[in-house]
């Protein structure tokens, strides 16, 4: 009758439960490995670039790369001065940013303070759609519409050719506009409503609330958004490949064809570069530059946000 004295009371699982818990540990481990794959990829990106870059510079040397102004790496004899690419990238980026950053800010102000709910319901999906259009479609748009109708008509200082940095830059800017708008809007939404109300309560107009309070209060987010836009413009390949021509001109005239770092990589990749050839290595060298610049910009933008973020309780 009295068997309870010899039974041990235990809260440990047994049988099925114990097996389930062991499986659980395995699952957790497996998932952790999967999660680590993300880290692997970043490492992979860096690794992929480092070796051939080193090889390239051993072959070509820093001097020619950074001092010469002729970029003809795929010709015989090749030239490896990177400046035309840098200038090309900078030109396209500048034009794109001039359009996208003020434009995006303006639309964001409009959505934040001016637009009625009806207008917003129409405008926001439209911007989302625009943001989802593939870059190749924008490339087509650049060639078929922007180059003949906009770039040629706008630029009065010089002749704009069929291919131009201007057409590419304008189109890249238009492509980035929705993204900048969204980011700027987020930055503005983070400004506490009470602050903006305070401005209105003093008799400020909407413009004054926007430029005097919201802009300043959301500045860190807005600047970060601009830097991200810059980074995106620098990295854009397809539009530039289609619309800017593929001549690495060393020029400050946006009406001429130019090549950017990204479009060069694409261009070089189109032709089959045998592994190990200098042409192959230039892809990596330029790719490293591109990665370093965009990575640096992204770190910079995040630093801005964390260091200067206005803390609102």
């Amino acid at each position: 009758m009295n068997s309870s004295a010899t039974e041990k009371v235990s809260l440990q699982p047994s049988g099925l439960k114990a097996r389930q818990q062991r499986i659980e540990v395995v699952i957790k481990f497996a998932l952790a490995i999967i999660a680590a794959s993300g880290v692997l990829i970043t490492t992979g990106v860096v690794l992929a670039l480092v070796r051939p870059t080193i090889d390239f510079f051993q072959l070509v040397g820093f001097n020619e790369f950074f001092m010469s102004t002729d970029w003809f790496p795929l010709y015989e004899p090749p030239d490896y001065g990177v400046w035309p690419l840098v200038i090309g990238t900078f030109t396209v980026m500048l034009i794109a940013v001039i359009i996208a950053v003020p434009g995006g800010l303006a639309v964001a102000f409009f959505l934040s303070e001016y637009a009625s709910p009806k207008v917003k319901r129409f405008l926001k999906p439209l911007l989302e759609i625009l943001a989802g259009v593939p870059t190749v479609v924008f490339g087509f748009f650049a060639l078929n519409f922007i180059a003949p109708n906009v770039a040629k008509k706008i630029w009065v200082f010089s002749d704009v050719g069929f291919y131009s940095a201007l057409a590419a830059g304008i189109t890249v800017g238009l492509m980035i506009l929705p993204m900048m708008t969204t980011l700027a809007e987020d930055a503005m939404a983070a400004v506490p409503r009470a602050l903006v109300d305070g401005a209105y309560a003093l008799g400020a107009t909407k413009r004054e609330a926007c430029t005097g309070v919201i802009l300043q209060a959301g500045l860190s987010g807005i600047i970060a958004a601009g830097v991200i836009a810059m980074s995106r413009a620098i990295g854009e390949t397809t539009i530039v490949l289609l619309a800017a021509g593929n001549t690495a001109n060393f020029s400050f005239d946006p009406g001429v064809p130019m090549q950017t770092m990204s479009s060069f990589i694409g261009f070089a990749g189109l032709g089959d570069q045998p592994t190990g050839s200098t042409g192959y290595m230039t892809i990596f060298a330029v790719g490293s530059m591109l990665f370093v610049i965009t990575f640096g910009l992204n770190i910079f933008s995040r630093r801005i946000v964390t260091r200067f973020r206005e803390v609102y309780e």
Binding site: E24, I34, V136, T237, F284, F291
Partner: protein
């Protein structure tokens, strides 16, 4: 309270009319005009984009576009190879990246502590990846997948691998959001009944997060469908005249045939490119509508 005698000591007239200076009003008007101009530019961009594409491509919007393969004659040229290539590549990368993203998200949200170094390391990595230009992923694929370690050459498998890497950050973030959105009461209810963590996840949390995960996947797939830059480096521009039959097949994708035809000298070929754009845009629109439908249907059930 003091017995103040009431007198009309007001320093204000009974006048609430606008007393601002004309220059202030002018600045207000100019500002608003600027805002409208910017907004209009955005709207007109989309409008002219669609219009110019339609105008250029409508002549080639017939069945032969979809059923034919590339041909030296523009009237016969079709994009079937590209359509199937896109489907192969996008579906493969979608499935693989969903698997990885889901696994990562489950681990990060359900198992790892939110502040662990691992967690933060991964978050930082995801953010970094999201900021890398797409062409750099092409370089990565060229170095490690097409040549180098894996040596798969310019195949469907290569393209899928690279697109998986590109789409992964977006998928992980949206999968995490979907998991976060599941109310903790669901998990706690399971635990209270004696379920292990994995049981709670697989039987309660995941099913509840499915709509969010589905919409996230669709968005990831949309992105993969429209990608062009990395695939330039991975052999997708080659003249491919057949549909893929497996992961090791040659392939091409819609964005790249669009690129090819857009650059052609002959106007008729450019029309094919424009028509291909219309096909691509229709596919994307359908995908996004699907995502919206899923999202709305799931909202109702909550």
């Amino acid at each position: 309270m003091s017995s103040t005698v009431a007198t009309n000591t007001s320093r204000f007239a009974a006048d609430l009319r606008d007393s601002t200076s004309p220059s202030r009003k002018l600045r207000d008007k100019l500002f608003l005009t600027g805002l409208w101009v910017a907004t209009l530019i955005g709207v007109l961009t989309l409008f002219f984009l669609v219009l110019s594409t339609l105008l250029k491509g409508y002549t080639r919007l017939n069945l032969s576009l979809i059923t034919n393969f590339p041909s030296p004659f523009p009237e016969d040229a079709g994009i079937q190879a590209a359509i199937f290539g896109s489907i192969w590549v996008v579906v493969t990368s979608g499935v693989v990246s969903l698997f990885i993203a889901l696994g990562s998200a489950i681990y990060l949200e359900e198992f790892a502590s939110q502040s662990s170094r691992f967690n933060r390391l991964i978050s930082i990595n995801i953010q970094t990846l999201a900021g890398v230009p797409s062409i750099v992923f092409g370089i990565l694929g060229l170095a490690f997948v097409a040549r180098g370690w894996l040596g798969w050459g310019f195949t469907v498998g290569t393209a899928s691998a690279v697109l998986t890497m590109m789409v992964l950050p977006v998928m992980i973030v949206s999968a995490r959001e979907a998991l976060k959105a599941v109310p903790s009461s669901l998990r706690e209810g399971s635990y209270a009944l004696g379920a292990t963590k994995w049981q709670a996840i697989s039987k309660q949390v995941l099913p509840a997060a499915i709509p969010g995960i589905a919409t996230g996947s669709i968005l990831g797939v949309s992105r993969a469908l429209g990608e062009s830059a990395p695939l330039i480096l991975l052999g997708a521009l080659a003249y491919v005249s057949s549909n893929p039959s497996g992961l090791s097949s040659d392939y091409t994708v819609l964005p790249l045939v669009i690129m090819k035809y857009t650059q052609e000298a002959q106007d008729e070929f450019r029309a094919v490119g424009a028509a291909a754009i219309i096909v691509l845009l229709l596919l994307l629109v359908s995908l996004n509508l699907l995502a919206i439908v899923i999202r709305d249907r799931s909202r109702k059930s909550w």
